[in-house]
C-alpha cells in the first residue's frame, strides 16, 4: 500500500510537468489546427536559459532561493515566450494560408534546428542544472516520502493552470482566443486582430513550457540539447489523450500519462514504459480520436 501511494505521488509529480507542456500543444492546436512539433525544443531552450541565468540571479539575491527561483522562472518564461513568438513570426506565419501539412513539416524542421543548433551553441554533453528548489523531505513517514521537489512541482503546475484558465475564460484576450479557435474568418470580421491573438497564444504556450522545463530540470538536474524530445512526445500523447484543443483534457492527459508511466516502470518493466505511452496514443486514435474530454461542440482554445 505504501509503495502504491509513493508511486502515485511520483506519477503526479511527473504528470504535472507533462501537463504543463501538453497545454502548449493543445492551445496552439486549438488556434491554428496544427501540432507545433518544436514545442518540446522550446522546453529544452527554457532549461538552458535557466541554466545560464540562475547562477547570476542566485548570487545577486545573496543565495536566497525563495527570491531567486521566482525571478529565474519569470526570466525563463519571458525568454521562451519571445522564442515562441519569433518562431511563429518567422516560420509559421508566412505559411498560414498553405496546407496544414506544410506547416507541420516546417514545425519538424524548426524542431531539428533547435535541437542541433542547441548542440552547436550549448555543446552536446549534459550540463548540471543549478539547484533552485532545495531538496529536503516535507512529509517523511517510514513509508511515504514527499520531497519539496514534488510539492513545488505540483503546486506550481496547479497555480499556472488556474492562471491560464483565468486568462482564457475571464479576460478579453481569452475571449478573443476562444473566438479565433472557432473560426478565424468570422473572428476577424468581428474586429479581432488574428495575428496578435496567435502571438499571444504562443506567448502563453511557450511560457508554460518554460515553467515546465525549470521544474523538470530541478527534479532531474542533468540537461542537454536533446532533452526536449521525449517529454515533448509524451506531452503530445497526453494532449491527444485528453482531447487535443481542450485545456482540461491536456492537464488530465498529462496526469494519466505520468501516472501510467510510473506504474509501468514500477510494477512491470521500464522497458515497456515508452511503448505503453505510445500504445495509448494508438488506441485513443483508433477508438476515440477526439480524446477523453474532446468534443467538437465544446469551446476550444
Amino acid at each position: 500500500m505504501s509503495e502504491f501511494l509513493q508511486q502515485v505521488i511520483n506519477g503526479i509529480s511527473l504528470g504535472s510537468i507533462y501537463a504543463l507542456i501538453a497545454l502548449g500543444y493543445t492551445m496552439i492546436y486549438g488556434i491554428l489546427r496544427f501540432i507545433n512539433f518544436a514545442h518540446g525544443d522550446v522546453f529544452m531552450v527554457g532549461a538552458f536559459i535557466g541554466y545560464f541565468v540562475a547562477p547570476h540571479v542566485i548570487s545577486l539575491t545573496g543565495g536566497s532561493l525563495w527570491i531567486a527561483a521566482p525571478i529565474v522562472l519569470i526570466v525563463t518564461m519571458v525568454g521562451c515566450s519571445a522564442l515562441g513568438v519569433t518562431i511563429e513570426k518567422l516560420a509559421y506565419r508566412p505559411l498560414r494560408s498553405r496546407p496544414k501539412l506544410t506547416v507541420l513539416i516546417t514545425a519538424i524542421g524548426v524542431s531539428f534546428f533547435l535541437e542541433y543548433g542547441g548542440q552547436l551553441v550549448f555543446g552536446p554533453d549534459p550540463k548540471l542544472f543549478p539547484t533552485l528548489i532545495p531538496s529536503s523531505s516535507l512529509i517523511n513517514t517510514q513509508h511515504v516520502v514527499i520531497g519539496t521537489n514534488s510539492i513545488v512541482v505540483i503546486l506550481t503546475a496547479i497555480v499556472l493552470m488556474l492562471l491560464l484558465r483565468f486568462i482564457v475564460y475571464n479576460t478579453k484576450m481569452g475571449t478573443a482566443m476562444r473566438a479565433v479557435s472557432f473560426d478565424h474568418r468570422v473572428a476577424s470580421l468581428m474586429g479581432i486582430n488574428i495575428d496578435s491573438v496567435i502571438s499571444f497564444t504562443f506567448v502563453l504556450g511557450s511560457g508554460l513550457a518554460a515553467a515546465a522545463s525549470l521544474l523538470y530540470a530541478s527534479v532531474y538536474p542533468s540537461i542537454n540539447p536533446l532533452m526536449g524530445i521525449f517529454p515533448g512526445l509524451k506531452a503530445f500523447v497526453a494532449a491527444v489523450l485528453g482531447g487535443i484543443g481542450n485545456l482540461a483534457g491536456a492537464a488530465l492527459g498529462g496526469l494519466i500519462i505520468g501516472i501510467t508511466e510510473t506504474f509501468v516502470s514500477g510494477y512491470i518493466s521500464s522497458s515497456y514504459r515508452d511503448a505503453i505511452a505510445f500504445a495509448i496514443l494508438i488506441l485513443i486514435l483508433l477508438f476515440k480520436p477526439s480524446g477523453i474530454l474532446g468534443r467538437h461542440d465544446r469551446d476550444k482554445v
Binding site: 509529480s13 520531497g147 538536474p221 510510473t262 522497458s271
Partner: protein, 377 residues
Amino acid sequence: MKTYSGILAALFTTLVILGCGGGDKGDEILIGEFGSLTGTTATFGQSTHHGLELAVEETNNAGGVLGKKIRLLVEDDQSKPEEAATAVTKLITRDNVKAIIGEVASSRSLAAAPICQQFKIPMVSPASTNPEVTKKGDFIFRVCYIDPFQGEMLARFMYNSLGFKKAVILKDVKNDYSVGLAQYFRQTFESLGGTVVAEQAYSEGDSDFKAQLTALKAAEPEAMFVPGYYIEGALIVKQARELNMTMPIVGGDGWDSSKLLEVGGQAMNNTYFSTHYSTDDTAAAVRSFVTKYSARFNERPDAMAALGYDAGLILFDAIRRAGNTDGTAIRDALAATSDFTGVTGSITIDERRNARKPLVILTVENASLKYKESIQP
C-alpha cells in the same frame, strides 16, 4: 555525358589521392583514437584523450618510436555506438592509421572491434570491461580487467566487507556493460549465500528513476547495486536519497568521473564503486603520473585518464618491439606484453587478450573520494 565522366574521373582521382594521403609520412606513425569527447559519457572520452595525449608527448619527447614521431588522430563518436563504427572506418580507410585506441564504453568498442578485425588493424581498448569485446577477434586487446572479475569482486565486497545479505540491482538494459556486470554480480552474490530481492531496469538517457526506486525500496534491501555510467548513477543515487533510501549504494568503474560528485553532491555519501587505480596510491609510477597530468591539464586524473595513458604506452612499447608498423607484427607484440609497469598496475596480456589487474574500491565521504581497498586478481 562526357563532362559527367570527366567530373567522375576527377572525383575518383581526388579520392584516390586523399586515400593515399595518410599512412607513414616518412617520419610519423599515425595512431587513431576514437572516443566519446561529447555526449552522455563525455568525461570518459575527454579523460582518456588527455591521458593518451600525455603518453604521446612523453614518447615523442623521448625520441619517438622506431625513430619516428607518433601522431594521434582523434575522432569523436558522440557517445553513440553507430558513430563509433563510422569513426573507426574513417580512421582506417581514409587516414590509414596503423593502430586504434578506444573506447571506454563496451557497447562502442563492440561496434568498432569487428571493423578493426576485418582490416587487421590492432585495437587497444583502454577501459571496456565487457568480456565480449576481445572475443571479436585476435586483433582486439584491452588493458583493463573484465566484468566477470569486477562483478564477482563487487559481490564479494558487498557480502564480505560490508556484510550485507539482501541486495537489489538497478541496471541499464540498453548497455552491454551494465547488463553483463549485473549478471556477474548476481551470480557471485547468490553463490555466496546472499539474495537479490529485486531487480529493476532503466535505459541510458532516462532521468526519472523514482518509479523503479520505489519498487526496489519496497523489497527492503540492505544495499543497492547500480552498474551503469556516472550521469545516471548520480541521478539514481540522488533520487534514492530523496525517497529516503539511505542504504549503501555500490557501482562499477562506469561511475569514475568528476561529474559523479558534481551531479550527486552530498547525496553520494555512503556509496562505493570499483575502479582501476587511486590517486592516493603511493607507487612511484602513480605519483609521477598524477603530478605530470595535473600540471599539464590542471585537473586530477581519473581512472579513464590513467587507462588512456597506459593503453598508449603499451601500444607504443609493442610497436617498438615489433620493429615495424605492420598490423600483424604489432598484434603479435601486443599479445606478448608481460609485466608492463603501468599507472594502473602491472599489466600482462593473457591468451584471451585481456589484462589481469588489481581492482580498487573507492568510497565517497563528505562528497569527496576516499580510497577503500585494493583487491588482487
